[in-house]
Amino acid sequence: MLETNKKIDNSEIESFKSMPDKRGHFGIYGGRFVSETLMGPLEELEQAYNKYSKDPDFIAEFEHDLKHYVGRPSPLYHAKRWSEQLGGAQIYLKREDLNHTGAHKINNTVGQALLAKLMGKRRIIAETGAGQHGVASATVAARYGMECIVYMGAEDIQRQAMNVFRMKLLGATVVAVEAGSRTLKDALNEAMRDWVTNVDDTFYIIGTVAGPHPYPTMVRDFNAVVGREARQQCLDQTGRLPDSLVACVGGGSNAIGLFHPFLDDKEVSIFGVEGAGDGIETGRHAAPLNAGKPGVLHGNRTYLMEDNYGQIIETHCISAGLDYPGVGPEHAWLKDTGRANYVSVTDIEALDAFHKLTRIEGIIPALESSHAVAYTAKIAPEMDKDAIIIVNLSGRGDKDIHTVAAHEGITL
């Protein structure tokens, strides 16, 4: 049997950036657990990715689009007033909320759409929960003149009406998924079913560092621009590396994007923040790394929220983007090695942080990012005044104002 849940002796790990192995494994995690029909297409995708990710023309076009279309680099902003009020560490916000379409998700969709174009695929499909990845996919599809189908749980379609309309404006077809719990995981299942049926002409743009190899690696690499910029900006602005990094973890793409370039800077401590929903102890949460067990779902082995017989259980989190029962396999490995710490904050704590950042810094964070903000507010006061924390402000909160209003009994 597989030895899971064991702490790994990390003194033997030369570089934390060495993962995955050739077969897409991060220790025991990751891999390629899909139906036979997808194995060939995944090999093709891996070969194409390996080829183009080293190709100077591809890199130049990706960087050009990140600069002129996405608006990179995003600022690293010293939140002085907030830092002062907390009375501890200096907090720097990595402003992914300022990207085109309002979140880090666009970094990945630009990369994957370029790859789709080079592979000759004219039809792209995507899954979405909050609608951010769906919007980012519909956006690049519009720009490259591709057909775009977005799968979205029927439950989420009701919660995120504005993003559904945005996707339609951009020319995408939004398909309501009625199966299972009618949320993000079911949308992913349905996208996989579409892909297995239409593999010849279709490119599946997965929105986070989950799925079968090479997705966790590819999505990480496209988002690692966040951490590379932040690392350099921090050195430029403060003359040194930060003490801590904080990012929210749904599937884990914004988090690994920030963390990865710092993994071998051992003096930098790393915190991934999961959604504790009503509280871990209530069972109503979305925190597989905090309270789940290793298993296999959506093409990879990772920590999952499941019952004693391996059925995936429903998650609860005020932020739709964190409402996922699994997590990227690299985070599972980073947890077991102890290189990163995975913590959680509740809906109420995240809402409180949402309001505080809005009022103190004039920045309305996404509810996902508010989880990272909330955890930062817990640790900053305990740290020295010259300590530095970088928080990934993964998205802007406009999409969430209906949720926040509803939570406070206000009808807009």
Binding site: L2, S35, E36, M39, T197, G295, L297, Y309
Partner: protein, 269 residues
């Protein structure tokens, strides 16, 4: 000799094709599943594929998804599935039973425990939809000493080196997925399936079964002509969904459907 091997040998000696129906354990209920298994055998099934319900059946179309949902709604768990097989074996020692499902319920139980329980109740093979040979070595090592076959899938996109490798590691029989798609699709192209089976036959002497998209006696006969076994899933599960509440009608309907497939397979020129 394993039950699966004995079954295919006997069929070959009689110049017959294997009929392999699929039903989901716990659909429409735990008790009825055992009864249905006997009905299937009496009506002419040679091997039974028993679906282990899973919350996220990524490779299945709507018909089998719903069956999985119904079974889970009835509270069906992995131990119930083992009990179904045990009860079936009380009256039937010879018909091979293959569990078909997804990886996570096995991961959670642990390979040793899952396989020991499966072997203990008389399971003959496993088809794990999301476990390609690349990830299968550890489980295979546990299955081998218990004599349980790991049945691998081959699909229209399986080519070259991978096809060779699958033929090398497979046991029991090989399951050819007739089309790109999920269970219950209906674009099966008999000519294309035949070409692929010829290619596979040049690499292995294992029996070849074909599944996905076999809806009626006519297609079953056409596919039976070029293969060693036909698997019928969604078309059967659809009938179970329709008559689930009425067990006598359900059993009569299942019996007559399976009989029609049997007759078609027995009348191949």
């Amino acid at each position: 000799m394993s039950r699966i091997e004995a079954c295919f040998n006997a069929l070959k000696n009689n110049n017959k094709k294997a009929l392999i129906p699929f039903i989901t354990a716990g659909d429409p209920s735990l008790n009825l599943t055992v009864e249905l298994m006997h009905v299937l055998v009496d009506a002419g099934a040679d091997i039974i594929e028993l679906g282990v319900p899973f919350s996220d059946p990524m490779a299945d179309g709507p018909v089998i998804q719903r069956a999985s949902e119904r079974a889970l709604h009835n509270g069906t768990n992995t131990d119930d599935v083992f009990n179904i097989v045990k009860e079936f074996r009380g009256k039937n020692e010879s018909t091979p039973v293959i569990l078909m499902g997804y990886m996570n319920p096995i991961e959670v139980m642990g390979y040793e425990q899952f396989v020991e329980k499966a072997a203990g109740v008389g399971v003959d093979g496993l088809i794990i939809v999301d476990l390609p040979p690349e990830e299968a070595a550890e489980l295979s090592a546990v299955l081998k000493p218990h004599g349980i076959d790991q049945i691998f899938l081959i699909s229209p996109t399986t080519r070259g080196e991978r096809l060779n490798r699958i033929c090398e590691v497979a046991s029991g029989f090989l399951y050819y997925v007739s089309l790109k798609g999920v269970t219950g699709s209906n674009q099966l192209d008999v000519k294309a399936v035949g070409d692929k089976l010829d290619e596979i036959r040049s690499k292995t002497s294992l029996p070849l079964g074909v599944g996905f998209g076999i809806k009626d006696a006519k297609i079953a006969q056409a596919v039976g002509t070029i293969s060693d076994a036909v698997v019928v899933g969604s078309a059967l599960v659809e009938r179970i969904a329709e008559h689930g509440e009425n067990s006598n009608k359900l059993k009569a309907e299942v019996s007559s459907f399976i009989s029609s497939l049997r007759t078609a397979l027995d009348n191949i020129e």
